[in-house]
Symmetry: C2
């Protein structure tokens, strides 16, 4: 047994052992821990910011880019935003113990499904240290025991934040092992953790596709995730073109670097001559590089449109680039989306109720939009209050995953002595 | 590329290609296919029974036990039971397209969660050929495309049943590739299928623990399953002892070879002296071998009680054997169940509402019973109409899995042009 194996086992067994205490904690106790946490983040601001400075200094030495250093940085304002986040999670309804549905069977048995925490989670994320507090607060509120593995660049900040978390749990009489922040940056620890499916119920990776693919390769534990956000906007022949223009621009340019930004625009051939010149000009004005199929290039002669290759349809640019194609009908649009998309979020712009109905039913994505921007696929926008991530999986939670997504259910059967005959 | 790899790819790609057609089929079309199937099973009875005879003959030659041959056998009565099963599934409500819940956001967006089929399933089972029809009918009704891999002993029967399935689908204009029965018994095909997570959404193994463990080892596709059914009955100090006696006997002896039969009896120390002699005598009368801890053996002096070892607490006997232990209190009972149990089904017998409430909340199992037999953990008994299996997983469906368990949801967002600011 090597050192990492031993440490992984210790972390996982401690998380499992602490799980029943947090699972049965009532909302008062959990919200109490969150209130203490909010206070501790303020009262320990000096030491947290000092730890963060250390990370920033080491990051500079290690040659992190300005963007990476910015993601790593905590200042007073960002710390306050973290505190607000914790307070908001405390105010959300507690999903644990809620009854999903219930019936009475002919033999008098009362049957119901009760929401219960998933159990023990392992959250893996990259540099931004606010995720440490955000993920811990969500797991705590949903009754989950959690192991947090942040980026190695943020190690000092995360250890300082972890101390606040432990103290808050102890303060309300909950075991501090309910939230464990990993204190080592050893890369070999993670593969050891990912095989401990006896102790850990689920893994949530937050980060780039490379990180998630590596985790999927090693993990013996179910992974709640999305790999890509190749989101489409399909402008139907019956679209309101003003709505279409605004939504395409918003979906592509409001924040191009996130997973719910649009990457591909599909336009019905009947309105392509009218709509494409308008939207392509607007996109160019917004500094978006447009890559079109032959039909698009034909219609947009005189505007600089690069050719879209087969690869473009399957690419998440996360940048000011968009692929644009013309489709013959709704069927072709749905087929394109189900073939090249990533089952994340796709929108139709139409005034035709039949087209909207078919799109809603037949597009196989975790979120389907009608006359709304793909950028709305988000836990806060959906009213979940917070999100631990977005899932394109089919088993369990899909789309934005909030507190409810961190729970599952059990069947409760109550009788007065019924036996099976 | 070897032969099996090529065949696996063909099967999986065909299932995926057929998936949209079955996913969007309406209930009328799906129930139509089931009605045709019921008729075809009757009109093709002769050829099905003949194929089954061939399997039985080969099975005898291969040295199958009498019990295995009985599981393999189809006669007119069993065929009629299969037909009834198909007709019952046709009568169940269609879960696809149902709205789980919905809200309107402050910006006017209408948000709802719509039930959708899981997609493409791979069902792996052992000798009983009625599973072929049962699983196919459940997948069809829930809009899933499915690949069925039955036991090699039943290959001729399954091919005959597969022909009825294909014909029924074609008859109503659905692609026959929605239900594919694997026609080869080559053992190397399965590992090739289990890595095709690009095409297949979930795997459901139905069979012994060895089969399921092997599948979990190879599969890159999520597996819906349970490994063990180590079910407990805990008789609390406030139990009605007549109820306790009837439930323990029913849970252990009504059908000892199935996963929801009880394997362990825990008794509160305050009623142990009164209850144990009664129940142990009754169990012995029912030919159950009793294995007790020291306390049980002390109380039951004069009755032949074997010693229970550490291993007994973690064993699914699937036979007329029961392990019996005395616990000091409810906490110890819950801890024993969460430690040694398999998170399948566990029951408390008590008249104390606080004990019942704590047991319901804190026992981490997919079904929790109060004053009812563990034998009720079953899709039919829960009113699901049918079941594809029982799941002890935490992600997605838990406990008995029926039509709803073969679906997931997507988020539908409807607006009139909302963009994100």
């Amino acid at each position: 047994m090597n050192k990492n194996h031993t440490q992984a086992l210790q972390l996982a067994a401690a998380a499992r052992e602490a799980a029943p205490a947090i699972a049965r904690a009532n909302s008062g106790q959990k919200n109490g821990a969150l209130a203490v946490l909010a206070k501790k983040l303020i009262s320990n601001a000096a030491s947290i910011l000092k730890a963060n400075e250390k990370d920033l200094k080491e990051g500079q030495k290690a040659g992190l880019t300005a963007a990476m250093l910015d993601r790593l940085k905590i200042d007073q304002k960002r710390l306050e935003a973290m505190v607000t986040g914790v307070q908001q999670i405390a105010m959300l309804p507690d999903p644990v113990g809620g009854i999903i549905d219930g019936t009475i069977r002919p033999n008098g048995l009362r049957l119901s499904r009760m929401r219960v925490p998933l159990g023990v989670g392992l959250i893996i994320f990259e540099s931004r240290p606010n995720v440490t507090i955000d993920a811990a607060a969500l797991c705590l509120k949903s009754g989950n025991s959690v192991i947090l593995r942040g980026g190695k660049e943020a190690i000092h900040t995360n250890i300082a934040l972890g101390r606040c978390l432990s103290d808050s749990l102890k303060n309300v009489g909950l075991p501090p092992e309910c939230v464990q922040v990993i204190k080592t940056t050893d890369r070999e620890l993670l593969p050891e953790l990912l095989v401990l499916n006896r102790y850990i119920d689920y893994v949530i990776p937050r980060g780039g596709k490379g990180l998630i693919e590596a985790i999927m390769k090693y993990s013996k534990i179910p992974v709640i995730k999305h790999l890509d956000g190749i989101c489409h906007v399909y402008v139907d022949m019956e679209a309101d073109l003003e709505i279409a223009k605004n939504i395409v621009l918003n979906a592509k340019t409001q924040r191009p670097g996130v997973c719910n930004a649009a990457e591909t625009l599909l336009v019905h051939k009947n309105i392509a001559r009218k709509f494409l010149p308008i939207i392509v000009k607007e996109l160019k004005k917004a500094k978006v590089e447009v890559r079109g199929d032959d039909a698009v290039k034909n219609i947009c002669k005189g505007i600089a449109v690069k050719p879209a290759t087969q690869e473009d349809w399957a690419t998440e640019y996360l940048d000011l680039v968009i692929s644009v194609g013309v489709v013959n009908n709704l069927d072709q649009a749905i087929q394109h989306i189900n073939t090249y998309g990533s089952h994340h979020t796709d929108a139709i712009i139409t005034q035709d109720v039949d087209a909207a109905t078919r799109f809603k039913r037949e597009v196989d994505s975790s979120s389907v939009m009608v006359n709304a921007s793909t950028r709305f696929a988000d836990g806060f926008e959906y009213g979940l209050g917070a999100e631990i991530g977005i899932s394109t999986d089919k088993l369990h939670a899909r789309g934005p995953v909030g507190l409810e997504g961190l729970t599952t259910y059990k069947w409760i059967v109550e009788g007065e002595g019924q036996i099976r005959v």
